[in-house]
């Protein structure tokens, strides 16, 4: 209200919803400028004092960092906490410390200047290297330099915030997110970042609403501004009007009420009113999500994105590391099933050491990378097989284009099995093998592929993007991306029929699976399994349990009879509003 009186206009910014929830409060603009200091000459009598000051600042920095490391290990797990190790190691680098001390003594300059200059030299060299990995390490070094300089000046740490705030930043490093999370943070909003960025992953594990990829939120917002963050819809409202605040308070209440209504569904099966069973499972990225998935009443994991193991590290995890991670997931989800998708790297997925490609989505990604890096692929297959002794793991291959690739991938599995057998290591010899259908060529030849595997899972995001020749990330054409295009629905229908003719089940694990508008349509087309983001699972279960299978088939028939996506969408929305007037549609 105050803002309005001062004449500040309400502004709405759209980004990517990274972690669900709604929060309102004061913004805290987190900027990462280097602390200011001057280059200062010191007298020969002061050298001793200056070095003492340096020692204390280094000790303080080491204490802070070890706290962050510990906090990170507790909050997000050992594997992700590794990101901080480089900084800790460098802080203890005897050669570096010695060089800084000697320069202070010899050049008689203040510690701030020497520290910044000495570490800056290295950061500069790292930035000159042509690798994303080295650039990240350079930022680590800048972080470290700023920390020491700040401690030399005994400035207050940004980690001590007054009250509860919504943090707004250009981008957040894992260290930033961790340090800030020691305060009561209501939400995170950043200019950069995708759904898999560090800030997004961490805020989901910490259950704090977050919106990323906002473009210029850090320029639009100043510390103290009143803002609303909507992690369901991916929206930020700056200087909200009284009406807007009321609207979001209602939405928050509504969501809370709706979420509490869904709790009793947890232990009920996902089946239609007339008893048609549906497999409803969850997509996961992190082992930290496991408890949430179980709590949401999932019947299993329909897509475990194994490439998330690579986030925040510069090498590939060893067979043993992978085995431990896979086993933990299989054990927790047992007696249900976990479908492990082999590394889907390339495209827009994070990976160390990848080639520069003009057209990454048509490039080196998914199973193509695995074939070219057989040692990596074999490592992963052996770890998955070793974790499969409870017989609840399936393997799925991403980005398959031809039936020849299916043969090739299966040969790798055979080889991995033979190696384990030779070592007398146990595994599930009948472990089901499936393929993601996301390339149009694979969809067209689904019958031949289905003859070779135990299941098919439709990756609707990529399938839609490839079918419509639209890059979703390109704002010039992204409005053309739509999963209710008749061509997309016809392709899905074709894949389902091809699978069923071969007697195997067909599922879907893209965003479409979790779109409440699509539930009746997909199941009506004959989809056997829906794998959705954990947050939406209870809502989808409610929809499934409220409809008859015969009605869903009618919905599918009607939808396919329309010639345009706008007609299909209008029809589905009308049907949905009629059947589920109390389900909030913009909760996605």
């Amino acid at each position: 209200m105050k803002d309005e009186q001062k004449g500040k206009r309400e502004k709405i910014l759209k980004g990517i919803p990274a972690s669900p929830g709604i929060a309102m409060g004061g913004a805290y603009l987190f900027t990462k400028e280097m602390p200011r200091f001057e280059e200062r000459a010191i007298g020969s009598d002061d050298v001793r004092l200056e070095i003492d000051r340096l020692t204390r600042a280094m000790e303080k920095s080491a204490k802070e960092l070890s706290k962050i490391l510990l906090f990170a290990q507790q909050k997000v797990g050992d594997s992700k906490a590794k990101i901080f190790e480089a900084q800790v190691m460098v802080l203890e680098d005897p050669v570096l410390i010695d060089a800084i001390r000697k320069r202070i003594t010899k050049e008689r300059k203040n510690a701030e200047f020497i520290v910044a200059d000495e570490i800056g030299k290295y950061a500069h060299l790292m930035l000159a290297a042509h690798s994303e990995y080295m650039h990240e390490r350079a930022h680590d070094m800048e972080d470290l330099r700023n920390r020491i300089v700040r401690n030399l000046q005994q400035e207050k740490l940004i980690s001590k915030l007054d009250g509860s705030v919504i943090v707004v930043a250009h981008t957040l490093t894992p260290a930033d997110t961790m340090i800030l999370s020691r305060n009561h943070i209501l939400g995170y909003a950043t200019d950069l970042g995708g759904i898999t960025s560090h800030a997004a992953l961490f805020s989901r594990s910490l259950k704090i609403p977050a919106v990323v990829g906002l473009g210029d939120v850090s320029r639009e917002v100043q510390t103290g501004d009143h803002i609303i963050i909507d992690g369901y819809g991916g929206t930020i409202v700056v200087h909200p009007t009284v009406e807007r605040i009321k609207e979001y308070e209602e939405k928050r209440e509504h969501m809370a009420e709706f979420e509490s209504q869904l709790v009793h569904l947890k232990d009920l099966p996902a089946e239609t009113l007339d008893g048609h069973p549906v497999e409803l499972s969850a997509n996961i990225e992190l082992t930290e999500e496991l408890e949430y998935v179980v709590l949401q009443g999932s019947q299993g994991v329909g897509l475990y994105r194994t490439e998330s193991l690579l986030i925040g590290r510069d090498d590939f995890p060893s067979e043993e590391e992978q085995y431990i991670e896979y086993k933990r997931i299989a054990d927790r989800i047992f007696p249900h099933r976990v479908i492990m998708r082999t590394f889907d790297i390339g495209g827009d997925k994070i990976v160390p050491d990848m080639a520069d490609e003009a057209n990454p989505f048509l490039g080196w990604r998914g199973v193509r990378v695995c074939f070219d890096r057989p040692e990596l692929f074999m490592n992963q297959l052996r770890s998955i097989l070793r974790a499969s002794t409870r017989k609840n793991i399936s393997i799925m291959f991403p980005m398959v284009t031809t039936v020849g690739e299916v043969h090739r991938a299966k040969t790798f599995v055979q080889k991995a099995k033979a190696e384990l057998q030779a070592k007398k290591i146990k595994f599930d010899d009948h472990l089901p093998i499936g393929v993601m259908i996301e390339v149009p060529a694979a969809a067209l030849t689904a019958a031949q592929i289905a003859a070779e595997v135990d299941f098919l899972s439709i990756g609707s995001n990529d399938l839609t993007q490839y079918l419509l020749a639209v890059d979703r990330g390109n704002s010039l054409v992204s409005s053309l991306y739509h999963e209710f295009e008749p061509s997309v629905l016809m392709t899905i229908k074709h894949v389902i029929n091809a699978g069923h003719k071969q007697g195997i089940w067909v599922g879907i694990c893209g965003e479409m699976a979790g779109n409440p508008l699509a539930t009746a349509l997909l199941l009506g087309l004959g989809m056997d399994e829906l794998s959705v983001v954990p947050a939406i699972l209870p809502e989808i279960k409610k929809i499934i349990r409220s409809l008859k299978f015969s009605d869903m088939q009618e919905v599918a028939r009607t939808a396919l009879s329309y010639g345009s996506r706008s007609e299909i969408e209008t029809y589905l929305a009308t049907f949905f509003k009629k059947e589920f007037p109390d389900i909030p549609l913009d909760s996605l």
Binding site: E85, A86, D93, P94, V95, L96, M126, A129
Partner: protein, 87 residues
């Protein structure tokens, strides 16, 4: 003084983990240890220095040791490269 040429075999080069292993092993010896790459010379007992080399797979480095236990140090460090840092 002893010198030895080594080639980086492990796939991701001298990233954080092998760099720290290299520094740890080298620091067990008294001999000074320098690594040369493309005219750049860094102290091999400094983690920040070793990381800065950004030495990737296939790159050849010149190791130089100087001190009483220089040949033992040289053998121990060269062995790490030979084993691909056990990666």
């Amino acid at each position: 003084m002893v010198e030895r040429e080594v080639t980086i075999k492990n796939k991701f080069g001298l990233h954080t983990r092998p760099a720290s292993l290299l520094v740890k092993v080298a620091s067990r010896f008294k001999a000074d240890f320098y690594i040369c790459k493309d005219g750049m010379e860094i102290n091999g007992k400094s983690i920040i220095g070793v990381m800065t080399l950004a030495a990737e797979q296939g790159v050849t480095l010149l190791l130089r040791f100087d001190g009483e236990d220089e040949s033992d140090a040289c053998n121990a460090v060269a062995d790490l490269f030979e084993r691909g840092f056990d990666e």
